[in-house]
């Protein structure tokens, strides 16, 4: 189990940052991801694995208007 923006999400071995975003249906382009407070560069979303128990923040940068 991991938490994403404070909500629990089932963890699977090999799960990447992109898998997490897909599972949450986070499709916004301006998303910053932090795993246990460490930022993940956008070009590493598909290769960075999320460890079990991780606290993930998927921050949608303010937009709109």
């Amino acid at each position: 189990m991991i938490t994403v923006n404070g909500e629990p999400l089932d963890w699977k071995p090999g799960m990447t940052v992109q898998d997490v975003l897909d599972a949450k249906r986070y499709t916004f382009r301006m998303i910053g991801v932090w795993i246990n407070d460490r930022p993940v560069p956008k070009n590493e979303f598909t290769t960075t694995e999320v460890p079990d128990g991780a606290v993930v923040q998927a921050v949608h940068m303010v937009s709109g208007g």
Partner: protein
Amino acid sequence: MEKMKVLAEWTYTPAPIERGYTRKTLYVNVGEPRMEIKDVSQDMIDTFTGGRGFDLKLLWDAVKDTTKWNDPENEIVLSGGPLCGITQYPGAGKCYAAFISPLSGQTYDSNSGGYWGPLSKFSGFDAVEIQGKAERDIILFINGDEGKIQILESNLKDLNAYAVTETLHEYFAVDEADKRNISVISTGKAAETSYYGCMNMSFYDTRRKVARLKQAGRGGGGTIMRDKKIAAMVVKFSKMGGNLNNVVDLDTLQKVGVKLHKEIHDLDDVQCKMRKVGTAHLNEIMDEYHLLPTNNYKFGQNPAEIAKIHSAVYERLFTQGMPDGCWYGCSMSCAKAVDGFTVQTGPCKGEKVTVDGPEYETVAALGSNIGVYDPLWTIEANFYADHYGMDTISLGTAIAFVCECYELGLINRNDTNGLDLKFGNKDDIMELIHRMAAGKDEFASMVAKGIRYMKKAFAEKFKADARTMEAIGMEGQGVETSEYVPKESIAQWGGYYLTLKGPQHDEAWLIFMDMVNKQLPTFEDKAEALHYFPNFRTWFSLVGLCKLPWNDVEPANNRIVNEPREAAKVPEHVQNYVDIFNAVTGKGIRKEDIITMSEKVYNFQRVFQVRMKQGEAFHNIPLRALGPVFPDEWEARREYYDGKLREIGIDPSGLSTEEKIKKLQEYRLGMWEGLKMAVYKRRGWNKKGIPTLETLKRLGIDYPDVVAVVEKYSKPEDNFE
């Protein structure tokens, strides 16, 4: 066109610009007629900065406590601000307008691109103040080249925006090249009956060879123009140059500008794609996150139809590869247009036109929110809204309300004078828009006056149920809500309904921070955001900047070098603003000063609202903004909403949908009150939302007449402990 008769004329010597200011404002009374050039004091600069700040200060001095929108002393005040007109940094051509609004009866401020802001400053004025009422249709002409102000008798045959603008660019230019030195403010025929008449501010697009229209759309500025019998306002200035603001540090300005140009060039295609689709990049994103208003905000998405209005569709419709900046030097270039569009209905039927937009707000307002998923229809509705002089947002939200009233049976086909106004019934909705401009149909004229007016009129005339209309009429302080579904973000209830002027997204857009990122868990966190962001964004309106280059592009490392909450503020861009403000004015402000500069004007405007509403400047929120009102809204997301009940300790099993709705409403109304108090307290206001004397003193806005308003309406029992 025949030469227009000069009704009044004055000459002046344009004041030189130093560090972004001319230190002069222009006052014109179109009724008397009279012209005056006023000095700008250092205190006015220190307290009000410029732009909307100057507008409000001049408006405060001009009106009485009892002034109504259609009294002659009401004004339209227009000002860019000290950074307005620089060409080195993207987004620096905005003009801010303020007036007493027909929709709300209090001040409204609205901004527009186009060249009016810069050209009026280059013509010698930090602000232009229009008062009085003319007896017949007039055109106000500011000739910055010759130092001449004229009031001309209009001989325009067609008062609608595209016709007015095209004709006047032609009339005042000596040749084709000269057209770019002109900016026209126009409205349209509908503004004569509507309360949400817009002001279109033009710039001449030399590549397309057409006048483009940007809008100070909201609040009813166009309505006031027509009430004053102003057909158009025109400014001309030909001696364009790269440093007309006479800035202190051109080198820094250029360096910071180049940095942002490069960022936009390198990153926009992988971030917001503003250069290709403008804000319409949000269409499918808002749908995905249940934020796209659908059928009068009942729903937040329509998965079956969204593909038809996907940004990719608009990308194909917008002409690509054009430098679509609405002022020189804006490489963000998001003022997209549809060229060669053939109009299908109404007085322009068969004509080929260039249509500005639609932007996201219009795609939603004159699209999903009224059940229409036909981009070509939306483009036509956008064209006619601008042409007739109506704000697309208020128009769409008002029609959405009408469609729901119609489908609920609160009004019928007899009431609508034969129109079948179901959601998505495009032909009859377009006919309604044409009737609004014609001004002869009583029902159409009611719709043109907005939701607050309709709620009362429908109840009185058609015996429509007032409680239902209160629940579903998406207005706050008399102004129609802009195009985001706020239901599931408590912070955005405040971002919309605890604003100075009504639910417009230019104060705070907190939905992602709050609802998705979960960065604002407590009332205090939300209140802090509802203090910081409205004040931060107010600053753009004081200095003459566009908000979009702040956070619709961000540095590549923004999310690496900043922790999540800071990253949302885009700290590097905030530093850019400090640097360019100092480079222009030589003032030496720090980041923190941005908020204080804004707070002065923000609180002054709040006192202004209290003054105009005789102490009753209340913040209202419709039930629809807080959550589902009808069972079908709940059932569309049953699992989600049942979960929301469980989160607050209510077991939904065994409850009917109506009972569930009632329980969630009760809870959320309590949350609304809690939020309101937390926000008022954080802003330094009392429990009635009136800034305290301490707040006025802290900000240095404790002028005797401002203090007098606060003292008159504040009671000791309304103070926080």
